[in-house]
């Protein structure tokens, strides 16, 4: 198992299109890194450069301390899990797992050792003599993972592995992959366009846009301290709302009335005439349900509700708003880029499921102004990002991961290679 370092990686195609543009990214030994972004962002190209399927135009790809730019895929000893594998119906589960080792002409004793070890991790022991036909769907997937494990690859790579599965199996497999990665402590790079996978699986998530790395951070840091409009809009479902806001000292004039900023945020937006105020749906509430003690920590406003959606445990209200044309155009462009049909000029707000706010009527809402971010409409930069708070979140995620790995190693009675070594860059989020 090994760390993967990418230094100024560029991939330019013959037509001059830079699919990956100067990406530098360090993946620690044992870390679970997600590459995420809308289609065409370069995430799959980057993964393929790690594997060796795409030539690297410039930059260094270093795996386990060795530069591998010119090495064939097999020589890199990485395992593309689930990419293409067949379970052979007439071979036992044992032989299905052992199969790559047989091809490598490994001696029986070593084969036995590795298959037993893999089946321990995968809890397949009692099934080793069975045929794949006698296994459940999930167990069959584990056999396939077993085949990847016995190879003892330097890292596991996944390229949208769950996109072909139905929703039920997808959920199961997500849990399985996560459990396995922790248990094995193996460096993992996982490409997805699905932000649920990104947020639930990764120690850190690298968000890409048009070949450029936007931010690398723990899921929580991405969510709470995004570096720009793109990351803020991409991470979170329903997405963050962006409201045009005219700056007037420490007050923002928004379509939903005035919002007062704290001193620090006010300083951050000083000198700007117009910003985009970003508010996640859950930072709104039905004002009638907000306790008095909390009420003055935010602002209230009255607006007409277009649609409400009651989902049992949660409820959303949709509130249209007007925006200057330039802002509207920009939101449309962002929406298009994120492959989203949301993010239009209507706010999606999460309200308590007991709220009696109804469609077509005016209602009073509350915004938790402590949690808003302000973005520069021209550059998209998050003007109010608290880098330190963000770094703390990522640092905590790294500590959790190390604790998990250590606990697993202790349980298995052997140290994992990731123990102690798997430290994510301490600075937390990397902004590129």
């Amino acid at each position: 198992m090994a760390a993967i370092e990418m230094k100024n990686i560029i991939k330019t195609y013959d037509d001059g299109f830079p699919a990956v543009n100067d990406v530098s990214l360090d993946i620690a030994d044992g870390e679970f890194m997600i590459l995420v972004g809308p289609s065409g962002c370069g995430k799959s190209t980057l993964l393929r450069m790690i594997v060796g399927l795409e030539d690297i135009t410039s930059g260094d790809m270093i795996i386990g301390g060795k530069r591998v730019n010119d090495k064939a895929p097999r020589e890199r000893n990485l395992s593309m899990v689930f990419q293409n594998y067949a379970l052979y119906p007439h071979l036992t589960v044992y032989e299905n797992i052992a199969f790559p080792l047989r091809l490598a002409k490994m001696d029986d004793q070593e084969v036995e050792r590795r298959v037993q070890e893999a089946s321990d991790v995968l809890e397949l022991h009692e099934h080793l003599d069975r045929k794949p036909a006698n296994l459940s769907g999930g167990q069959r997937q584990r056999v396939a993972m077993g085949r990847a494990i016995v190879r003892q690859a330097e890292a596991f790579l996944f390229d949208e592995p769950l996109s072909n599965l139905d929703a039920k199996l997808r959920g199961q497999m997500r849990t399985e992959i996560s459990r396995l990665q922790r248990r094995l402590g193996i460096t993992t790079v996982y490409v997805t366009h699905d932000q649920t996978e990104a947020m639930t699986l990764g120690d850190r998530v690298a968000v890409l846009r048009k070949g450029l790395l936007q931010q690398v951070a723990s899921p929580r840091e991405l969510y709470e301290q995004p570096v720009n409009l793109f990351v803020a809009g991409f991470i979170g479902s329903p997405p963050m709302n962006f409201l045009p806001a005219t700056v007037n000292g420490s007050t923002l004039e928004t379509p939903f009335g005035e919002v007062t900023l704290d001193d620090e945020k006010a300083r951050a937006v000083a000198g700007k005439d117009l910003v985009l105020m970003g508010v996640r749906p859950e930072y709104f509430e039905d004002a009638s349900l907000v306790e008095d003690s909390k009420r003055n920590l935010g602002s209230t406003f009255t607006a007409r509700v277009d649609v409400t959606e009651w989902l049992g445990d949660s409820q959303y209200a949709y509130i249209p708003f007007d925006a200057p044309k330039e802002v509207e155009d920009q939101l449309k462009e962002l929406s298009r880029e994120l492959d989203s049909d949301q993010l239009r000029t209507q706010a999606i707000v999460s309200i308590d499921s007991t709220s009696r706010i109804r469609e077509g009527r005016d209602a009073e809402f509350w915004i938790d102004t402590r949690k808003v971010h302000c973005f520069d409409p021209a550059s998209g930069d998050n003007l109010t990002r608290d880098a330190e708070a963000g770094a703390k979140l990522t640092r905590e995620a790294g500590e959790d991961r190390e604790a998990d790995l250590a606990a697993n190693a202790e349980r298995d009675g052997h140290p994992t290679s990731a123990q102690g070594a798997g430290t994510a860059p301490a600075g937390g989020s990397t902004r590129v």
């Binding site: 030539d55 097999r74 067949a86 052979y88 199969f99 091809l103 036909a133 069959r140 996109s163």
Partner: protein, 444 residues
Amino acid sequence: MASATDLRFRVSSPGLLRLPWDLPLEQWGPDTADLRELPVGPSRHLVRFPYVDGRLWAVKELPERVAGREYAVLRQLEVKDLPAVRAVGLVVQHESGNALLVTRYLERSWQFRRLLMRLPPNRPLHRARLLDAMASLLVDLHRNGVYWGDCSLANTLFSRDGQRLQAWLVDAETSEIHPELSTGQRLDDLDIMVENVAGGLLDLAVMLDRPPEIHAQLIEEAAGVATCYHELWDVLSEQPLLDFGDRHDVEGRIRRLNELGFAVDELSLQPTGSGDERLRLKVTVAARRFHAVELFELTGLEVGEGQAQVLLADLHSYVATLPDTARGLQRGPSSVSRAEAVQRWLDEVLRPLMERAHEAVGRLGDPVQAYCDLLEVRWLLSEQAGCDIGNTAALEALANRSLPTDSAAMVVVAEEDTLEMARPTREQLEALREETAGTGDREG
């Protein structure tokens, strides 16, 4: 619900349109479709075979996104004239998020299990034909920028082509088409193929209760596919440096390419630009149809490249026996006598013997192939006998199936099975159920 279903077809087959496209494939029943069971082996997704308007079709259910991608890839493979199944329709069932991909079932083709199970046990030569075909297919795909991603025996169909087999790509779920493949993509695809082929062969050996001692040999044979691939790839892609005076070397290289079945599409000799006086030879070859085109130009017959090689050799040896006046074929531009020689071969040799050979094999398969089999059997039996055994004896051997064990003609026994394909035995059905139940979704 019809409104939630999008249908797109590229064939006009009224019966096909009448199939229950609004239902999940699993729910198709005998009341709505004439379904045939084929022992196709494991598949990631459910595949069923309706028999409609006198033809067999394959319908595969898979997530909409994957289906759309596979449909697009198959269409491009068709445009590039590569050996792959032809996509004829895509039906999207919006409610379930699934789609049904419809392909034309490749007639007179077999899955490797069917083929190898019907042939005499453990004959490496038969396997070699199969594996040669795989390597050749992969080279063809790679030359055209196609990364297969999951090349396996199970994802390939085989058809007869003279003394060779032609491999066809059947499953393009993981395939991608690029302007050109990187070396990494090619090698990775090749690694996948070797591994999958070994797996397929081992699995079949276990299924057929072959002794475990042959496993190592099967693994070696699978590894040999890579050697085959590299040999062919190197011949097609080498760009040697030649002195200006060595231009005649070019001729030898072209002859070699032609022998392998490739016609030269473009040839260039250009300075290296590095002060070196030598020239770099680049040869671009067309599809592997050199002999097929030659035979077509001579006779109007449209056959496979492997069959054309056999027929042309037969034609040339026939012409060699004619009196000089009729040997225009070999003598140059005397078109009348050349045409006459060809006509005589067609009338006196090919047509009557093809008819008799086809009769001898029980009118199975393609008549041209039956004639190729006759020629091979006659040749091999004559070699064994030490003298020419003649057509009658060879026809008899064909009819009795007393064929040389390793002959390509032995594959005719697999043809017999084709007639039965719509009516599988109970054992076959049980085996099929076991297999597909076991590996219905092998991707995670």
